[in-house]
């Protein structure tokens, strides 16, 4: 593990036992997060991005969930081998998490202030008064006006955007090294989304925190992330820097994702191009490339064998048979690709 990597996930497999059998939600995921960078994990619903992030935090309910194999190296220590007691010291202190829905993620019967101070009391061994002072400071930092009086209010006194700010205050109170934000803006108004993202970016720089941003909103990715990992059916199919993924995507699934984003600069006659079909059933995951069934470039080998990950450049990697020297040359269909038809 290299020095600069804060987190390294290696060949992670997570599955859930259901009445119908074992659902393999995450099937061999690899990625790294460097100190101070933002990694965005994108993909459609059910691709395993939330399960991956909750595995890092040890929040997968076991049973029915189970980490079957793989390593989650945080500063070189494998979190999958940690006991519950050891994980309690990591959660909230070294890795913190923001959840999707701020309306349900705060305890309705506890004051907002208390929900911030309890983590401080636990991890930094602060007294009541000190913790309170720190909490006020955090609320001010995330941009909540008159934080002193807001401390004693309950979540239902807060608007959606303010609750998400409070969530960020809770998560960042103990100055964690890694912040996992699981769709932090999905449940918010568009106007509030930008505020929250900006606030997160500012705080990231101030506190030198690394962020894993989980989202299906490519606009959010472009705005905030340094690197991107595209997940599909429990696997990372392509990863690279934001420029690489947006300007030179290599995987047909990434092409499809980009094609389904509404754009202002296209003429009104252009329609969105959704990806036809649905993701494979992870109860019986396909042998070959999981995207083969929906891919218009699929070849024979795609259905039978999972492609190896190919390194395109420094960070840019993709798992697609089109990268194989013997495969036909294919030009991506979309005009959005850098230097395309326009």
């Amino acid at each position: 593990m290299s020095e600069e990597n804060l987190l390294e996930v290696r060949d992670l497999h997570v599955s859930f036992h259901t009445y119908n059998g074992e659902v393999q939600s995450v099937r061999g995921v690899d990625f790294q997060v460097k100190k101070g960078e933002t990694l965005a994990i994108v993909g459609e619903s059910g691709c395993g991005k939330s399960v991956t992030s909750q595995s890092i935090m040890g929040l997968i309910p076991q049973p029915p969930g189970k980490i079957r194999s793989g390593e989650i190296l945080f500063e070189g220590r494998d979190l999958t081998r940690f006991s519950e007691k050891q994980m309690e010291k990591v959660r909230g202190k070294e890795i913190a998490m923001i959840f999707q829905d701020p309306m349900t993620s705060l305890n309705p019967t506890m004051t907002v202030g208390r929900q911030i101070t309890e983590g401080l009391e636990k991890h930094q061994r602060l007294g009541k008064a000190e913790a309170r002072q720190k909490a006020v400071e955090m609320l001010r930092l995330v941009g909540i006006p008159s934080p002193e009086s807001r401390m004693n209010q309950y979540p239902h006194h807060f608007s959606g955007g303010m609750r998400q700010r409070a969530m960020i205050a809770i998560a960042l109170a103990c100055a964690p090294k890694l912040l996992i934000a699981d769709e932090p803006t999905t449940a918010l108004d568009v106007t509030i989304q930008a505020q929250i993202l900006n606030r997160m970016n500012d705080l990231k720089k101030q506190l030198d925190t690394s962020i894993i941003l989980i989202t299906h909103d490519l606009g959010v990715v472009a705005e905030t992330a340094d690197r991107v990992a595209v997940m599909y059916a429990g696997k990372v199919v392509e990863t690279g820097t934001v420029e690489e993924i947006f300007n030179r995507p290599r995987h047909p699934y990434t092409w499809g994702l980009m094609g389904s984003v509404p754009r202002l600069d296209l003429s009104s006659r252009e329609t969105l191009r959704p990806i036809p079909g649905t993701p494979p059933d992870l109860l019986q995951p396909p042998q070959g490339c999981p995207f083969a069934g929906r891919c218009q470039y699929a070849m024979k080998i795609c259905k039978t064998q999972m492609p190896e990950t190919t390194e395109i450049s420094g960070f840019h990697r993709t798992a697609c048979w089109l990268e194989h020297p013997m495969s036909p040359a294919v030009t991506p269909p979309n005009e959005w690709v850098g230097g395309g038809s326009q």
């Binding site: 959660r91 909230g92 959840f99 305890n107 019967t109």
Partner: protein, 309 residues
């Protein structure tokens, strides 16, 4: 808050007035009369008695007279016990019933809470199943069966505690226990269901993500949110228990209020029926009021106030 309480008190008085009125007219439509059990009373004596109790008047007049007396706090004289006021009858039976009821409620709530938590936290294990069995028994086996079993085994056969009569604290243990089974069963079921729901909530995940231990997340975050339904049933349950249970009191020979109520209906003791019903009704109304105040203490979202907070 002050205005809210006053408003509620006015509604409570109106509710009690409705209870009084309905009970009064229903009672006068009961077949029979207070004097029917007396054999062969000479008509002139019967008339004198009726006049003494004001029963010779038309029913609406009696109603107004009764309301008038009630304003001065007078529940009237009992027909059944010569020269005793209904108030004194109630005050004689109530303390024993109250003590039994409170003991049963306190013990039943605490133990029910404990069982409910165990069942929810160990969902699907033998412990969960065991609490389910206890709950089903507690709800379906009538308290008098429990009372008889306790009295016979603990009281008579093993001689650990007195099997009946009233006096020391030891006397009150078995009847309280018999009454508490229903409370244990009810509370443990409500807590289990609600706690399971709360444990699945997003904010429980947030609490865990803060690095709090399992026990802290449950006691600090889950329990309070799971209390509301249990508090709701606790109100009427308390009234039901503190106003006495006829059969349990009969089995343990406790001089409580339960037998008095039933007896007064049997002999058409109008004033006693009215007195006990008003007492019972007032307690229920009061308990609902207390439950509403408790809601606000437990869940800030229900906190009521005049206008905005």
């Amino acid at each position: 808050m002050g205005r809210y309480i006053i408003q509620r008190l006015i509604y409570m008085l109106i509710t009690i007035w409705v209870i009084i009125t309905v009970t009064f007219f229903l009672m006068h439509n009961l077949p029979g009369s207070p004097l029917k059990n007396e054999h062969k009373i000479p008509p002139e004596i019967k008339e004198a008695i009726l006049k003494q109790y004001g029963l010779d008047q038309p029913v609406p007049v009696q109603y107004l007279q009764y309301l008038g007396n009630l304003m001065t706090g007078d529940l009237g004289a009992s027909f059944q016990y010569n020269g005793r006021s209904v108030t004194s009858l109630i005050m004689e039976g109530f303390p024993a019933s109250l003590q039994l009821g409170i003991q049963a409620i306190v013990f039943g709530t605490l133990f029910g809470l404990f069982l409910g938590c165990i069942a929810a936290l160990k969902q699907g294990t033998w412990m969960d199943n065991a609490t389910t069995v206890i709950a089903v028994l507690g709800i379906s086996v009538p308290s008098f069966v429990m009372a008889a079993l306790l009295s016979y085994f603990v009281g008579v056969k093993w001689g650990i505690l007195p099997p009946g009569l009233w006096g020391s604290f030891a006397h009150s243990i078995l009847p309280s226990l018999a009454l508490s089974f229903l409370v244990i069963a009810t509370i443990s079921r409500y807590i289990r269901t609600e706690l399971l729901e709360v444990l699945g909530q997003d904010y429980m995940k947030t609490a865990k993500a803060k690095g709090l231990s399992r026990s802290t997340t449950v006691t600090r975050h889950a329990l309070r949110n799971a209390l509301i339904p249990a508090v709701t049933v606790l109100g009427p349950l308390t009234v039901q228990l503190i106003t006495g249970s006829l059969v349990v009191e009969k089995i343990f020979s406790v001089p409580g209020m339960g037998w008095m109520f039933v007896n007064s209906i049997k002999v058409n003791d109008y004033t006693a029926i009215m007195g006990v019903t008003i007492f019972y009704g007032a307690l229920i109304v009061l308990s609902m009021f207390i439950v509403d105040l408790l809601y606000g203490m437990i869940d800030p979202r229900i906190r009521l106030a005049d206008g905005k907070e």
